[in-house]
Subunit: 301 residues, 4 copies
């Protein structure tokens, strides 16, 4: 359970007191505000604030004065058109601010998405909590035999047991020593900015992360993808659910054109043309490398 | 008067219908929402949306769960500390979306601030309105004799008259020909994306412009400065008033540390040290160039 | 002819004096350095500097110590893999700096690509040259009847004649008045920053523009595309030739996966699957809108 | 010693073979190319490539055709003017690419500077080396008693001994288990992307990092500052030496206006005015908080 009673009380207080605003309100998002959606064993994602909705995308695309007189149906059509033709700027007109708790090794992948605003909990200034990510047994995956960057089946039996014991014991010991090094109240102790270096990458950190919808969808396309590491993918999947409630038209277009879509090379398009004419195309006659061909074949099931 | 009755009606409709939200509401900003604040002869600035307030800056800096238990006094102190020490990321946690109508030559300066989201009215797709910036007589400044990039006193008499007539007549003619070239309804006419090239840089355009508070303050520091061109400065000054109502603590810190402050070089600091010890420092003994010395002297009045 | 004898002499001087360097040299790019490649009637593109080559992309992807021991064949395979899987960061390790002369209305589209460094010739500080883009008769396109943002066939006869006369006469008059307003040597005259507002959008400006290869390819994908406005497309096409000589592997991969490729939505992929099984799919049974179906059909010729 | 004989041989090979180029060459930087400058116990900084020099800054500021006919003295004056007046775009016209080896906790601070291109060694794909940062005894600083984010004097005696033993033993054990978990050749073992989570933040990683001079100077101002954490400051100081040899005019201006300079608030400027008139100003009469006053007094020695 990631939140203390005090933290939960603060969140409850925020959810108890609606205020009037003249701004655009996305009802689907209001229901999520402040609530911590659990991810992994100690992590969470929670929405702190948002700006805009589906109509705001259209309003910006039209540079209009009001909310627009166009019908809702037109709005969805426009959003699909913008997504299909890579007109990204109207999607940048929506913004989201999240509070995320996540293991450091996940944070290190996440931060590579540069077009975002971030305030991370400071381990120079503050003391980190004793919370570590320990994978569930079914996620203790072996190294993939075919893909240097991938996972195979889960480890089992004694090997799985040994791994879990290492992870738990090493985290515990590292944190014990971290605490000992920074010292007790009233005693000097090692500077926090130094002591933290003893902590492993499965310790949890947290941050405020704010980005616009265009960059968020780019993040989700890469991180909710089947090739993303499981531990970041579960965060991306949780955020997908929030976005689906926030901007349903934009999210549906995203699912169709990005998540469920595929980019075909000129060579691949040519192969499809030949196949549609009845030709049997093989890797040898395709002009593609083996890797490309494997990915191409996978598209047609 | 920059707005048509239809546009005003759309704005009035938006201002008439408050909705409940759980988000942070900045009362000082709600009063400005949607209203067009006039700038120059046909331009305006109006707030379309915003995210966050002073407390949101502190909340992000503390990576806290709720709105924080700290006092309002602590909040202002923290904001001043963050501003003074160039901790910019908490200010990025506030966001603003503006609808701006502005002459093209102002837009060309404005767009150089890259960290913003922009949707501009498209002259490829739509027909521009017949609205041109014609300076008020008191702003018909002569080229500065001492500064290549500056203005001197206002032109007067026949010379001012001649300039105004050129600006008016050339705009009118250019727009007449623009209209003629794109043709009447039902007739082909020149493509809009080509016809627009006949229009001068004082024609008005408009855009939705969205940025975070840190980047907005950077924009205001450069563009509300006395050295900025008058025609962009008046936009910056109008935005300053909005920001003062939106995030009063942050704006006060900005006025003290940025707008009213100055950066002294190592050489300049050394001169002040000598002057405080009673030495009479001159440009010759200062180690500064004439230009630097002039700017240095101006600081002490 | 866009360059004066003095300018050409400066360029020739730079091309005459090679220096020794330990850095990576791309022979294909050295031949283009400084030379002005003409575009439109008075514009040009010329390479001022570059960093990296195809091998530098691979070196960064491998985070290696030297130039790498891998074969050239491996390098091309790796570059294709990176491009196919949207691993964009290694392409950011190459950089290019261009000097471009271009009409203001083209510059206004170009500058929307924000991830670049720009220094533009200042019309606050300096006096612009009397050079205007006047389209060749075959590019005087009519507004498209089917696409709000597109062009139809070229205007002809009296209508074309009239347009050309407007463009020429209005430019000439606007520049005459610009010159008159800023005054003669020794006379005050209107401030340059104001006088420029009388100049139309077909006047030429120039800038230094620097960007990395990833962002350059993104620019080229959008601007060398058939839907881009002709006047910016010719710049993009000229730059494509330079890139093909600079990083031939990366450019070939770009042509295959981006320029010649297409993104299919989930719905479109499903239609292809059905078609490959022999089903006759129509717009009505496709699940696509009319616009999407038209684009989908166009892929198969 | 951070480099293996093979790595050193690769570097030596690159330094042995100069090539001819027409590009701008900065002699001061050529001498550093590829050489690994040691930082901390196993880290280094080495220049992989660079673009531009002092003259390139001026050339861009002037948007000129050649290298410019202005004197070297004028170039330094222009660079100082640009730096003093925050004209940052000409400095963006120089670019540097570094290969850096650094502890993970330093990398986590460094990456917060978003305007840069980065390729980091992948611990999903590859196996990290057994190299950990263990501070020299004189850098085992205690937590500051007055500043939550600072360091006090170095720990001594038994306490220092205990800290060093914890850091060494925990790193060794964590790496032993990391190796065991990923398994031997031929054996499946835990996926690398998971096993790495056991490694502490003092393990070394490496990356290619590329940025422009403006953003590099911003990085150096913050990270070569006395308030920066020692372990990142030593990297910044090493890079300062490289920049001083690369663009000596720009670096001197940076030292004068940024590193050695200070920003005074409106309140502080007013205090200096009063002090110059002979008034004795105290914290109570200054209008500053205690913290501000302490920083203000420190300026005058």
């Amino acid at each position: 359970m990631p939140l203390s009673p005090e933290q939960q009380a603060e969140i409850d207080a925020q959810r108890r007191t609606p205020t009037q605003t003249l701004r655009t309100v996305a009802e689907g998002m209001e229901q999520h505000l402040y609530t911590a959606h659990p991810v992994l064993d100690h992590g969470f994602v929670r929405v702190i604030d948002y700006m805009g909705d589906d109509a705001a995308i259209c309003q910006a695309a039209r540079v209009s004065y009001g909310r627009g007189t166009k019908s809702v149906q037109n709005d969805e059509g426009l959003i699909r058109y913008l997504m299909r033709h890579w007109h990204s700027t109207p999607f940048e007109m929506c913004e989201i601010k999240l509070h995320v708790k996540l293991p450091v090794f996940v944070a290190r992948q996440w931060i590579r998405h540069r077009t975002a605003n971030v305030n991370e909990y400071s381990a120079r200034y503050s003391i980190l909590d004793r919370e570590f990510y320990i994978p569930a047994p079914e996620h203790l995956a072996a190294q993939s035999a075919v893909n240097n960057q991938g996972r195979g089946a889960a480890l089992e039996g004694a090997e799985a047991q040994r791994v879990l014991e290492y992870l738990k014991a090493d985290s515990t010991r590292a944190y014990d020593h971290y605490e000992e090094m920074i010292g007790q109240e009233g005693q000097a102790g090692l500077a926090r900015e130094l002591a933290r270096m003893n902590l492993p990458a499965n310790i949890y950190t947290q941050w405020y992360w704010k980005t616009d919808l265009h960059n968020l969808l780019h993040f989700l396309r890469l991180r909710a993808d089947a090739h993303a590491q499981y531990e970041i993918r579960v965060y991306a999947e949780e955020i997908c659910k929030l976005v689906a409630d926030w901007v349903p038209f934009a999210f549906r277009a995203f699912e169709d054109y990005r998540m469920g879509g595929a980019t075909l090379s000129a060579t691949a398009l040519d192969c499809v043309r030949r196949m549609l004419k009845g030709e049997t195309v093989t890797q040898e006659t395709s002009g593609m490398s083996k890797g490309e061909w494997r990915e191409f074949e996978a598209l047609w099931g």
